[in-house]
Symmetry: C2
Subunit: 388 residues, 2 copies
C-alpha cells in the first residue's frame, strides 16, 4: 500500500530547538509515512524545493536533533494571495495532504491562509503548526518552544557580565545589555532569573510593555550608580517612547525596507556618558540568544521533542488546521505540562505581551514572573556570592 | 609563632578563571599563612584597602572558585613612580613580605617595579605573578590562563551563529562577528576551532597580525557570498590598516582618554551593505567572551587552580620576583604541561602576536594552530552536520 505523504518545513527566525522538533517528527513518522522536507520554508512550497527524507539521508538528519538553526532553511513570510494559491497548487500537484510547519505568529497566519484556500477548493489538507519563537509572543500557549533557551542564555549572560562589571567598578560604571524582543519584553525580563538580592545584576530593566522615558532612565541610572558604584542595565530592543516610536533601528540592507532592531543599547550608552559622565559600555547579546547550544534549556529541548512527536500523532488522529499549544498543568509540587491543540484560525495577529500580574508597579518583572520562568529556563541558575 | 603574611590581589581585566587561581591560593595557604586580600588590585595597596582572609569569611571565599570576574575587584595600572613608592611604603608598614598578584602584561611590569623599589630599599619582598588574560599576549608562557575559556566561547559562538545564518541565508547574507584582541589575533583565530570543511563557519577571518585592506575584504566577502550564498566573517577588534590605525574605536567615557575597542564589525557591516548590497549584520561577542561561565574550558580551569597552588609553593621555596609560566610538555599522545617560573624582569612590554607558523599565506589560522588550541579550548568542539 502506498504511504501517505507528510511535508515538514521550518519558517521564521531559527531557535536552538527548532531542529529538535523537526528530527522528532521525522523519528515518529519515518516508518509509516512518505516524508518530505520543504527547503527554505514556504519558499520551498512555492518553488517546489522538496527533498525526500528516506533511508539515504535519515542518519544525517537524525544528527541535527541538538543543532541550532533550522537545517532545512527558513524564510520570511511576506506571501501574496497568489503565492498562497500557488502553494496549494503545488501541494495538490505533489499529492501532499499533511503539512507540519514550525514558526511564530506570521507562520501560523500563513498556514491558516493555506488551509482556507485548500478548503475552498475542496482539497483535503491537514496542517499542524509547531510554535517556535524565542520571542514567546504567541497567544493561546503558556509559552513557545525556543523561548526557554533564549531566556536561559540571557539570564546567564546578565549574571556573568554583571559579575565582570562588578570587578571593574573602579573604572567602568554602567553596562547596558540589549536583548531581543521586538514587541514584547519576555526575553529582556528573563535577565532577572539569577537575581536574588538588590545587589545582583540586573539592577535596572526596561521593557516594551512600559513607555520608555529617557529622563526617567537617566535618573534611575544615576541613582543606582550613586548607591552601589556601578549598574548593570538590561533593555529590550523594542522599548518605545510615548509616541510608540523605537529609540533606535537599523536596516539589514542598504536601502531596503527590511529592518532589524538593535542599537538602542549604544544609543543609551552614549546618553549615559554624555549626560551623566559615567563610563559606560553597550552589550548586544545578538544571535547567540537563539543559537548558543551550550545554554539550551533541557526543559525547552524536551518539550520541543514532544511537540515534534505530537504533530505526527495529530495527523494520525485526523486533527486538522491546528497549532500545538503548551498548557501548564502545575507548578507545585513540580512543573508539569500537557500538549493541546488550538485552531489556527484562532491565532491572532497581535503579539502577546507580558501580562500585568508578572510586572511590578515600575513595569519590571516580579517574583511571580520568576516563578513562572524558572522551570522553562532552568532551576540551576542562581546568583553568585559576593565579598565586596 | 606568628605566621608570615601573604597578600593576594587581582589586576587588569577579569576572566572566567581569575577567581579559580585566587581561591586555590587561599586553599593552599590558609593553614600556614596570615592571608590578606587587596581590594581593587593595586588601588588596594595604594590606599591600604586590605581585608583579612580568615575563618570568618573563608567559606564565602571558597564559593568563588567557579565564579567569573574578580571577586576582590580589579584596577587599571597607570601607576606613577610615586605610587610605586607608596605601595612599598604600605607593604613595609603592614609587614607584608609576600605578594601574589594576577593579571596581564601591565600587571607584571608594575609588579617588577614594586620589586625593584623594595630591593633598592633593602626590604625583602617575594612577588609571584599569576598570568591571567584572555588576550593570550604574554611572552614566556605557552599560553595564558583565561584564554582557553575565551577561545572556547568564541569557537562555540561562531559555530552556532554560523548555523543560524545558514538557516536564514535566503534573507541575510553576511554576519560580521567581532572578537576581543587589541593587539593580537589569538581570540579571533580561535573561531576556527569548530571548522572542519570550507563550508563551516567562519568562512573568513581577519587578524591584527596582517594589514587589513578594505578592498581585499570586500572582494573576499563578495566571492564567498557568490560561492555559497552567505558568509560568516570573524574580525578581531584590533585589525589595523597599512598605517597601523584602528578601523574603529570608541571611548568608554564622554571626553576622557580611556578608550576601548569595538565597533569595527559595525563599520564593516555598513561597508558590505553599501558597497556590495548584501544584507548584513554585526555581532559583537562582548564581555561574555571573558565571563560566560557555562563555556569555561575545563583545562583552563584546572590550570588556573594549579597555578594558584603553585604560587604558594614558590613562596615556600623562597622564589622571588617571578611569574608562573605554562610549559607545554607534550601534545602526543596527549597534551601535558608543567608549571615553571620566569623572572618578572624578563617580561617585555610588547604583546605576543600569533607566530607565523600558526598562520597560512593569507594570514589566517592554520591546522597547526588548531592542534595547538584544541587541548586548551576543548576536544568536544566539533563541526555540525549539514543537509543543504
Amino acid at each position: 500500500m502506498k504511504k501517505e505523504k507528510i511535508l515538514i518545513g521550518q519558517s521564521g527566525g531559527p531557535t536552538s530547538v527548532t531542529n529538535a522538533s523537526f528530527v522528532s517528527s521525522v523519528e515518529s513518522a519515518i516508518d509509516k509515512y512518505d516524508l518530505y522536507g520543504a527547503l527554505y520554508g514556504f519558499e520551498g512550497l512555492l518553488e517546489e524545493k522538496l527533498i525526500p527524507i528516506n533511508e539515504h539521508n535519515l542518519n544525517d538528519i537524525l544528527k541535527f536533533k541538538k543543532v541550532p538553526g533550522a537545517c532545512l532553511g527558513t524564510c520570511r513570510y511576506y506571501l501574496s494571495d497568489e503565492d498562497i494559491e500557488m502553494i496549494v497548487d503545488n501541494l495538490t500537484k505533489h499529492e501532499i495532504r499533511n503539512v507540519v510547519f514550525s514558526g511564530g505568529n506570521g507562520t501560523m497566519l500563513v498556514l491558516n491562509k493555506i488551509y482556507r484556500v485548500s478548503q475552498s477548493r475542496g482539497y483535503d489538507l491537514k496542517i499542524i503548526g509547531i510554535p517556535k519563537t524565542v520571542d514567546n509572543d504567541l497567544e493561546l500557549t503558556d509559552h513557545t518552544p525556543g523561548f526557554g533557551s533564549a531566556a536561559r542564555f540571557v539570564a546567564l549572560s546578565t549574571r556573568d557580565i554583571g559579575k565582570d562589571l562588578e570587578a571593574m567598578r573602579r573604572f567602568e560604571q554602567v553596562r547596558v545589555i540589549e536583548t531581543m524582543g521586538r514587541n514584547s519584553g519576555w526575553i529582556a525580563a528573563s535577565s532577572v532569573l539569577a537575581r536574588e538580592t538588590q545587589e545582583d545584576a540586573p539592577h535596572l530593566v526596561y521593557l516594551p510593555e512600559k513607555e520608555f522615558k529617557l529622563n526617567d532612565f537617566l535618573g534611575e541610572v544615576k541613582e543606582s550608580v550613586n548607591t552601589r558604584g556601578y549598574t548593570t542595565v538590561v533593555v529590550s530592543e523594542g522599548i518605545r517612547n510615548g509616541k510608540g516610536e523605537l529609540l533606535a533601528q537599523k536596516s539589514l540592507q542598504n536601502n531596503v525596507e527590511t529592518s532589524v532592531l538593535g542599537g538602542v543599547s549604544e544609543f543609551l550608552t552614549e546618553k549615559v556618558k554624555k549626560e551623566l559622565g559615567f563610563s559606560s559600555r553597550a552589550e548586544l547579546l545578538g544571535m547567540s540568544q537563539r543559537s548558543f547550544q551550550m545554554a539550551v534549556s533541557t526543559q525547552d529541548y524536551l518539550e520541543s521533542v514532544k511537540i515534534g512527536k505530537k504533530a505526527i500523532e495529530l495527523i494520525e488522529n485526523d486533527d486538522v488546521n491546528v497549532m500545538i499549544s503548551i498548557e501548564r498543568v502545575a507548578d507545585i509540587p513540580e512543573y508539569s505540562f500537557e500538549l493541546n491543540q488550538v485552531m489556527l484560525k484562532d491565532i491572532v495577529k497581535t503579539e502577546k505581551k507580558i501580562p500585568e500580574n508578572f510586572l511590578n508597579e515600575a513595569g519590571r518583572p516580579n517574583a511571580e514572573f520568576k516563578n513562572w520562568l524558572r522551570p522553562l529556563a532552568g532551576f540551576d541558575i542562581s546568583a553568585y556570592p559576593r565579598i565586596i
